[in-house]
C-alpha cells in the first residue's frame, strides 16, 4: 500500500456507514482484490489519530461473531478531510502519470 494512503482509504470505506476495525480491513482488502494489503494491526494507530483529529467517532458494540468491538463513524470534519485527501491524491497521481507518459 502506498505510504500515507491508509487514512484516506479508511475514511473512504467509512463513508458508506459505521464499521469496526476488522470489517474496515476486510473491506479494503476485498475492494482492492487483495492488491492492497498491509499489516492489519497498523489500522489501529491510524484510527487513534483519526479519533484525535475528530475525523471519526467510536462507539462500543458487538460484532457479528459476538466479540466486543468499537464501531467507527465518519464525522462531518472527516468527510471534508476525505475530499481534501482525494483531491491531493488525484493531483499527485495526474502529475506522476504525466511524467511517465512524456518524460
Amino acid at each position: 500500500m502506498p505510504p500515507g494512503t491508509l487514512a484516506m482509504l479508511v475514511l473512504r470505506v467509512l463513508r458508506s456507514g459505521p464499521l469496526h476495525g476488522y470489517a474496515i480491513a476486510q473491506r479494503i482488502r476485498a475492494l482492492s482484490d487483495s492488491v492492497l494489503e498491509a499489516e492489519e494491526g497498523s489500522l489501529y494507530p491510524t484510527l487513534q489519530r483519526m479519533l484525535l483529529e475528530g475525523w471519526v467517532t467510536a462507539e462500543a458494540g458487538v460484532s457479528e461473531t459476538g466479540r466486543r468491538v468499537r464501531f467507527y463513524t465518519l464525522t462531518r470534519e472527516g468527510a471534508k478531510q476525505l475530499n481534501r485527501e482525494i483531491a491531493d491524491y488525484e493531483q499527485a497521481t495526474a502529475a506522476i502519470q504525466t511524467i511517465l507518459r512524456t518524460a
Binding site: 476495525g21 476488522y22 480491513a25 494489503e37 499489516e39 492489519e40 494491526g41 497498523s42 489501529y44 494507530p45 484510527l47 487513534q48 489519530r49 479519533l51 484525535l52 483529529e53 475528530g54 460484532s63 461473531t65 466479540r67 466486543r68 468491538v69 468499537r70
Partner: protein, 465 residues
C-alpha cells in the same frame, strides 16, 4: 470537542484507553482466519504507536525517568547524593562567575545600559561584521524615529601616537554621543557637526545684505524642506527672509521647535542672499553650499541631537482607509518638481508640482488650504506641525509607506488673512483636527517620542561681503 480537550482527556484516561485498544486488537486477531493471523503484526508495537498519536509519550518517559531516579537514589544514596552535590556546585559556580563578570568587568558605566543596542552590517559575501560610513550614520541619526538616539563611534588607529610608554586609544564619536548616553564630558569640548570638518561644497561668489525693513519675501525656488525645485543654473536668489529661513533651508529643519538656542535676532532680522556656483547643482547640493555660507558669514556652529518630547502622533482613524482628500500617488502621472505653484494636476484638488507643500486658494476667507503631491506621510506630518499648536510636533505613526497626494483645508483658531472687502463666513469651517479626520482620515494621539533637533552653538551677525 476541540482537539486539545480530546488530547487532555486521553492523558487522564490513558490506561483505560490502552486496555480498550488491547481488547479491540485481540478481537480483531480472533476474527481473522488462523492462517492470516501472522499478518496482523505486533500488537505491542501498534499499541505504542497508537499511544504516540495522543502526544503524551514524553510525559510517560519523564515519569519513568523520575521513578528510575528515585529507585537509584534509594538503592545507592551515597553515589546519588555525591552526583547531586557536584552538579549543584558546578551550576552555582558558573552562575556566580557570570554575575561577577557582568557586575564588574562587563558593566557599561552609563545609566540604563540594558537599553543600548549595537548595529553592525553582515552580508552574505562578507560574514565578518562591518561598520557604517559616516554619511550613513548621519542619515540614520537624522531619519531615526524609533530609537531614543543613534550614536556612532569609530576607532582612529595611529591617530594618537604615544611617544612614551602610555598608549592612547582615540575614538571619534558623533556629536550627540555624550548627551545621548547621559555621561559627562570630562575634558574638552564637543566639536560642531562633524560633517563640517570635511570640505563642504561652497558657492563661488555670494553676497549677504540686510533687507530693507519692509518688502516682500521672494526666492527663485522654494526654500522649504521638500524636493520642489527649479534648477537655476547654479543661481541662488532670496530676498527679505529672516535668517531662520536660511538655516532651516540649509539643514532641512522642520518647524521652529526643532531649532534650539537660536538668538532672537535670527528670527526677526531679514537678509537678502544672492549666490552663484558653476554647473547645475541639485537642491540638496544647494543646501550644503548654504551651510558653508552660513558657517563663513554668520559663524554658524550647529549640531544635531534628539529629544524625548510629547508629540502629536498621526494615526489612521480606520486601518488602511484613507480620507477623501488623500490618495496614494498614482505612479504613472507626470510629476514635475519645477512646475509653477499655481498649476494644477489633472485632478484639480492637487497641484501639478510634486515633492513640496503648496498653499492653495481656500474655499472661504480666513481658512488655510495646503496641498502636495508625491510626498510621504512623514513629510505631510512635519509640514502640518504648525497646525497642531502648543509647540507639539506632529509625527507619522500611521505605518503607511509610499508617497501620497493630499489636500487639506481648515479654519485656524486665529483666522488667516482675509482679503479687504470679503466678509468672513459665519461658519468658520472645520478645526485642524476635524479637517485631519474628515479630509485625510487621520486622528491625533498624544504620545511620547524622540524627535531630531538642531542646537545652535554659535551665531554672529554677518561679516562684510
Amino acid at each position: 470537542m476541540p482537539k486539545f480537550l480530546r488530547r487532555l482527556s486521553a492523558l487522564f484516561h490513558s490506561s483505560r484507553m490502552q486496555r480498550k485498544l488491547g481488547e479491540e486488537m485481540a478481537a480483531h486477531r480472533d476474527m481473522m482466519p488462523a492462517d492470516r493471523r501472522p499478518y496482523f503484526g505486533s500488537t505491542l508495537r501498534f499499541q505504542e504507536e497508537a499511544g504516540d498519536q495522543w502526544g503524551w509519550t514524553w510525559l510517560d518517559h519523564f515519569r519513568q525517568d523520575l521513578l528510575y531516579g528515585a529507585r537509584s537514589l534509594r538503592r545507592s544514596p551515597g553515589f546519588a547524593l555525591a552526583a547531586i552535590a557536584v552538579l549543584s556546585l558546578g551550576i552555582g559556580a558558573n552562575l556566580a562567575e557570570f554575575d561577577l563578570f557582568n557586575a564588574f568587568l562587563h558593566r557599561l558605566n552609563v545609566p540604563d545600559p540594558d537599553s543600548l543596542c549595537q548595529f553592525f552590517r553582515i552580508s552574505r559575501q562578507n560574514p565578518a561584521t562591518g561598520s557604517f560610513a559616516i554619511p550613513e550614520t548621519e542619515s540614520y541619526r537624522r531619519e531615526n524615529t524609533v530609537l531614543s538616539a543613534v550614536i556612532s563611534e569609530t576607532d582612529l588607529r595611529d591617530a594618537c601616537p604615544a611617544e612614551d610608554s602610555v598608549e592612547l586609544r582615540c575614538v571619534l564619536v558623533s556629536g550627540n554621543f555624550f548627551g545621548a548616553l547621559r555621561v559627562p564630558l570630562w575634558f574638552g569640548l564637543v566639536a560642531p557637526l562633524m560633517a563640517q570638518s570635511i570640505p563642504q561644497p561652497a558657492f563661488d561668489v555670494a553676497s549677504v545684505k540686510p533687507s530693507p525693513a519692509s518688502g516682500p519675501s521672494n526666492s527663485n525656488f522654494p526654500l522649504g524642506p521638500g524636493n520642489a525645485y527649479t534648477p537655476n543654473g547654479g543661481y541662488f536668489s532670496a530676498t527679505g527672509f529672516p535668517l531662520i529661513t536660511y538655516i532651516a533651508f540649509a539643514y532641512k529643519v522642520m518647524g521652529e521647535q526643532s531649532l534650539e538656542q537660536l538668538p532672537g535676532w535670527a528670527r526677526t532680522d531679514r537678509f537678502d542672499i544672492q549666490a552663484r556656483v558653476q554647473g547645475n547643482p541639485t537642491k540638496d547640493q544647494m543646501r550644503l553650499m548654504m551651510r558653508s555660507l552660513l558657517a563663513e558669514r554668520f559663524k554658524l556652529a550647529i549640531h544635531d541631537d534628539t529629544r524625548q518630547v510629547s508629540v502629536a502622533a498621526l494615526v489612521l482613524v480606520k486601518a488602511s482607509k484613507l480620507g477623501s482628500q488623500l490618495r496614494a500617488h498614482p505612479a504613472d502621472s507626470p510629476c514635475p518638481t519645477d512646475a509653477p505653484p499655481a498649476a494644477v494636476s489633472s485632478d484639480p484638488r492637487y497641484p501639478l508640482l510634486c515633492g513640496g507643500l503648496l498653499p492653495m486658494q481656500p474655499s472661504a476667507p480666513g481658512r488655510i488650504r495646503l496641498a502636495g503631491r508625491n510626498v510621504t506621510i512623514d513629510f505631510i506630518a512635519k509640514s502640518l506641525t504648525p497646525g497642531v499648536g502648543q509647540g507639539r510636533p506632529l509625527v507619522d505613526r500611521t505605518t503607511l509607506t509610499g508617497t501620497f497626494d493630499f489636500n487639506i483645508e481648515w479654519a485656524p483658531e486665529i483666522p488667516g488673512p482675509v482679503k479687504p472687502g470679503a466678509e468672513e463666513q459665519p461658519d468658520r469651517g472645520p478645526t485642524f483636527e476635524e479637517a485631519l479626520r474628515e479630509q485625510l482620515g487621520f486622528k491625533l494621539e498624544s504620545q511620547k517620542g524622540p524627535i531630531p533637533v538642531f542646537v545652535v552653538d554659535h551665531l554672529e551677525h554677518p561679516s562684510e561681503n
